[in-house]
């Protein structure tokens, strides 16, 4: 672990809400996007002249485009219900990381220019002019929100700070102050098709390498096809799955599942990214442009289904927004929801007895499950509300004998973000990421102490990268985070064993699952 210029927060013995320390994270801000990256996305390269007026105008425009914004800005009563709900507040104790205070950085400007009270009695309602100081605070604190929506669960009006963060980032982009990490990545997706900027030949090479690796390891010729026309399934996965650890083991797991089920499938080099950072910056146009790549790939390859790999915010955009952004998907097989999550596919196959799993293959592990924030609170799996909680857990129980949940208030809809979501998974924000992981790390520590948990199972590329990075700061090891589909893969096709084709099944007549949505 690198020398840190900050202290990792200590585990709290009792979960008392920390006292606030003003300005504790005022210094935290990500690198600013360079002009050419800004311009590629249709934003000004640098802070424009007269940016104050343009920012305020943009705010007014967004209020007319997004009901959420208008209602949320007006409705907050400052009851304080959200003040202790944000992992960044708990980890940093900076009061501007309380969701309501973060919103107020935006709301104070909205009130000044768009409300009667704020125009005429700014001191009374805490309204403020748009100034450079305010912009700097925005840049700092709207990049300390992972858009995880935990606050929205507890707000009596359902106010979601993520919506305000997205709007603030949208306004900043429009006056020329964008964030390097997000905007560079979005540029790569537009140009190449994935966040990593991995071109088709490199991708093909990687996938061929994986095929060899799996064959060597299991004796089963699992394929990882790319751009194969006529496949049944287009699998869209976060590009980190192609090479990062522990992501790639999850990807191998998807391949094993689809192979065993006899489902023909393919990746696409055109849509080789599940994540859609357009959401992080609150920009509909960019988000839509990236979503359309998936539609184009599905049409081009002539697939019948679209399935998404393990990813959190990506699944939100896929489940909740894809139909809106790039639909209608009437050219796909109507027997399946569009899109499906790989967990829905695996779960259906397990339920129908089409995957023979040997959970004892994972007996060396005692696992717990991290509900990714945007899967938990912004999407669903399966046909019933809450399927996003039960489906991954049922898969886990089917392929693992030792599973223990973390404390109830830290899982399911109350789950804590990993600390790296929403466009913050960048090294220039490492202090924030480490501190923001505190609540999750505390919950993990509890099950490690109580049940001897050895592994934290995740179904999101960001969660996996973030945990690999921050686990060591809290006395764990980076390899304690693993992909759900790695465990599935282990239980399905253990390594070091051959002849795994014995329970292979015909590819015919896959029983359609009940329509999930």
């Amino acid at each position: 672990m690198a020398e840190a210029a900050f202290d990792t927060p200590a585990f709290r013995e009792y979960r008392v809400i920390p006292k606030l320390r003003e300005g504790a994270m005022a210094h935290s801000r990500p690198f600013v996007a360079k002009p050419d990256f800004q311009e590629k996305l249709g934003f000004p390269g640098e802070l424009v002249d007269d940016w104050e007026r343009k920012a305020v105008e943009k705010m007014g425009e967004l209020n007319k485009k997004y009901r959420s914004l208008q209602v949320f800005l007006d409705s907050c009563v400052k009851c304080g219900a959200c003040t202790d709900k944000c992992h960044y507040y708990l980890g940093t104790t900076d009061p501007n990381n309380m969701p309501v205070a973060r919103q107020d950085l935006y709301r104070q400007v909205y009130r000044r220019y768009y409300t009667f009270a704020g125009k005429h009695f700014p001191w009374l309602v805490g309204a403020k002019d748009m100034t450079k100081d305010v912009l700097d605070q925005w840049y700092s604190y709207f990049h300390q929100c992972s858009q995880c929506r935990r606050c929205s669960v507890y707000c009596p009006y359902g106010i979601d700070t993520a919506e305000i963060s997205m709007a603030a980032r949208e306004v900043m982009d429009h006056v020329g102050k964008g964030q390097k990490y997000c905007n560079e990545i979005i540029g790569k997706v537009h140009a190449i098709g994935n966040n990593l900027g991995l071109p088709e030949p490199a991708l093909r090479d990687t996938l061929e390498g994986l095929e060899e690796e799996v064959l060597e390891d299991t004796g089963v010729p699992v394929r990882f096809p790319l751009d194969e026309k006529g496949a049944e399934v287009l699998l869209v996965t976060p590009s980190a799955d192609f090479f990062a650890e522990p992501h790639v083991d999850g990807l191998i797991g998807y391949g094993k599942v689809l192979h065993r089920a006899g489902i023909s499938w393919t990746f696409s080099s055109h849509a080789s990214e599940a994540a859609n950072f357009g959401m992080f910056i609150g920009n509909y146009e960019n988000m839509r442009k990236m979503a359309l790549r998936i539609r184009e790939a599905a049409l081009e390859l002539g697939v019948r289904r679209i399935v998404f790999g393990e990813c959190g915010h990506a699944w939100r955009v896929a489940y909740s927004f894809l139909n809106t952004l790039a639909g209608p998907f009437d050219f796909l097989d109507p027997a399946w929801p569009v899109p499906q999550h790989i967990c829905e596919v695996t779960h259906g196959l397990i339920r129908d007895g089409r995957l023979r799993l040997d959970p004892s293959q994972n007996d060396d592990k005692v696992v717990t499950f991290h509900d990714s924030c945007n899967i938990a609170r912004a999407s669903r799996m399966g046909g019933e509300p809450g399927g996003q909680f039960t489906i991954p857990r049922e898969i886990l129980r089917a392929c693992c004998n030792h599973f223990h949940d973390m404390p109830a208030e830290t899982v399911r809809e109350g789950t804590y973000c990993c600390g790296g979501g929403g466009g913050l998974l960048t090294d220039d924000l490492i202090e924030l990421r480490v501190k923001g992981a505190l609540p999750r790390m505390e919950a993990l520590k509890e099950v490690v102490d109580d049940y001897g948990v050895t592994h934290l199972v995740a179904i999101c590329a960001i969660c996996k990268s973030q945990f690999s990075k921050v686990l060591p700061y809290y006395g764990f090891t980076m390899d304690q985070v693993i992909s759900l589909h790695q465990l599935v893969g282990n239980a399905l096709m253990p390594g070091g064993e051959s002849g795994g084709e014995s329970n292979g099944e015909s590819s015919a007549a896959e029983t359609p699952q009940p329509q999930a949505a």
Binding site: K65, G80, T83, D84, K85, P156, T324, G386
Partner: protein
């Protein structure tokens, strides 16, 4: 007509107009702004009926607040339901003959005022004592509680300590409604109570009290979770699609 009667008559006509007009304007604003994306906080109901039930639990039981903070929930609920009963009880001053169920509510409504004051006091105490809530409070947040408390306390004093000429007061309000103006009894406590109520009515549509209509328009609570089954596109997004953007 005395100056007192005249000024209160004008005040209440103006306050009512601002309340109704201001609320209507904001509701129109909320209705007009589209919700371009499906953003219910999940797990969320998948049907319209489920959404109605979710909203009912939210508005009647303050379900989300209950999950969040038991003290805020307790004080908030005491205040809001105390206020509701008090308001319903006050219908007796605006109806002739008084509706049966309002008569029925009369005893509960009288004591609900104490519930309301207890809730408000608790909320204000929290705002002062809890460092996080203190930090997020503007002067207006304190003043709003003070205003409501003052309304409650003057009301309680008239109900339990210094009765006022209710009969003439009712005649005044019925007169306002029937455009047949009657004198307002010159009682200082009543005058203060009514002035504060008028102030509340005026402030209502221009303040955080907009949470009352706002909650019904909150997309995280009022949307059904069915984006895969039903395509949801805002008018401005359709335009964007057509323009090939």
């Amino acid at each position: 007509m005395s100056l007192l009667t005249l000024s209160y008559a004008v005040l209440f006509y103006a306050a009512t107009a601002l309340l109704v007009g201001g609320l209507a304007w904001h509701i129109l604003l909320y209705r007009r702004a589209p919700a371009p994306l499906k953003i219910p906080t999940t797990p969320a109901p998948t049907t319209r009926r489920g959404v109605v039930w979710r909203m009912f639990r939210e508005v009647v039981f303050f379900e989300s607040l209950f999950k969040s903070s038991k003290w805020t929930w307790l004080f908030g609920w005491l205040f809001h339901f105390g206020l509701l009963l008090v308001l319903l009880r006050h219908l007796r001053y605006f109806t002739q003959p008084v509706w049966e169920w309002v008569n029925w509510l009369q005893p509960a409504g009288k004591y609900a005022s104490l519930m309301m004051i207890a809730g408000l006091a608790g909320l204000w105490l929290r705002r002062i004592v809890v460092d996080r809530v203190r930090y997020i409070s503007s002067p207006s947040d304190h003043l709003m509680l003070l205003l409501l408390l003052a309304i409650g306390v003057t009301g309680v004093l008239m109900t339990f300590v210094w009765p006022v000429d209710i009969v003439s007061m009712k005649a005044f309000f019925l007169g306002l409604m029937r455009l047949d103006w009657q004198p307002l009894p010159p009682d200082p406590l009543l005058a203060v109570h009514l002035a504060l109520v008028a102030a509340l009515m005026i402030v209502f549509p221009f303040s955080k009290l907009l949470h009352v209509p706002g909650v019904f328009f909150s997309p995280t609570r009022n949307q059904a979770d069915n984006p895969r089954r039903k395509r949801h596109v805002a008018a401005w997004a359709v335009k964007l699609e057509r323009s090939g953007g």
